[in-house]
Symmetry: C2
Subunit: 144 residues, 2 copies
DNA sequence: TTGATAATGAAATTCAATTTCATATTCAGG
DNA sequence: CCTGAATATGAAATTGAATTTCATTATCAA
């Protein structure tokens, strides 16, 4: 069974919240997992529709939020105003380099930045729940 | 003359781009500079309207973009979906701690994080143009 | 099997942000 | 100081993503 762990996490969440198991939700989860990262709801909608043509946009939108609730998916608000979603389960926390010209995303990891962020928060009596580092610039290709 | 430097920067930009000097633009600039940080366009609109009741929302919106263009103002996209603007000229780069409950902003500075960010970008052949670190969490007051 | 509850999909709505357009203002050249 | 070409303004319309509504359908526990 592909994505057995992710499915179990999702189903446990469904059970815990007394929600219902539906074919749409499973399709959306699987399509989300099968696909490259940083999807918009619109993009996921198009992909799911290929296999499940009757599905509605609102269902995608609602289900993606469910995926975020149970830790399978992470929301990323980018400067272009469209919210994107990426895989979360089994992925380390990472930050993003985003090219302002071509929109390319590069994921970067810096344990040291992580640690400094925690320190900053502690100094200011904050408890971090999630964080987003977006570094906007130009990638090699797009640089003049 | 209050804000002489900022006004000069703005006026130089206006001249350079062959735009026109208007009373509305001056009012918006001054009100923006007089006011606490992290304003939404809506908030700035309300403030400017107190002195200049006939001003339109679109003019505020357009002028704030002009302020960003000439480096007096910086755009900050926050998770709640409303874009906020803060003073830029004469302010060091800083990051933000944002309380997910009460919306409080705390500005934090970490030269070390800055440095690590530059390194990360260089390693990945990126040239940073601007960056945004948002640490979302709970402040002391809002923590259970 | 059934009935209470939740989910779905289409359409309507929301809300910030942007664009359109008729009118008003600015300002450079005469 | 005029004048007119160019830009700016404000109201209203539009856009576009995201959310909500609602009638209908599906799920699942008893």
């Amino acid at each position: 069974m592909p994505y057995a762990q992710e499915r179990e996490i999702f189903e446990a969440h469904i059970r815990k919240k007394n929600l219902k198991h539906t074919e749409q939700r499973t399709q959306i989860l699987v399509t989300f997992l099968e696909t490259e990262r940083h999807l918009t709801v619109e993009e996921l909608y198009v992909l799911v529709r290929k296999k499940y043509p009757s599905i509605g946009y609102a269902t995608i939108s609602r289900t993606v939020k469910l995926l975020c609730d149970c830790g399978l998916c992470s929301e990323l608000k980018v400067e272009d105003g469209v919210t994107r979603y990426e895989h979360l389960y089994g992925h380390d926390h990472h930050d993003h380099l985003i090219c302002v010209d071509c929109g390319r995303f590069v994921e970067v990891v810096s344990p040291e930045i992580e640690r400094l962020q925690e320190e900053l928060a502690a100094e200011n009596d904050f408890t971090i729940e999630r964080h987003r580092l977006g570094l906007y610039g130009k990638c090699k290709k797009c640089r003049p």
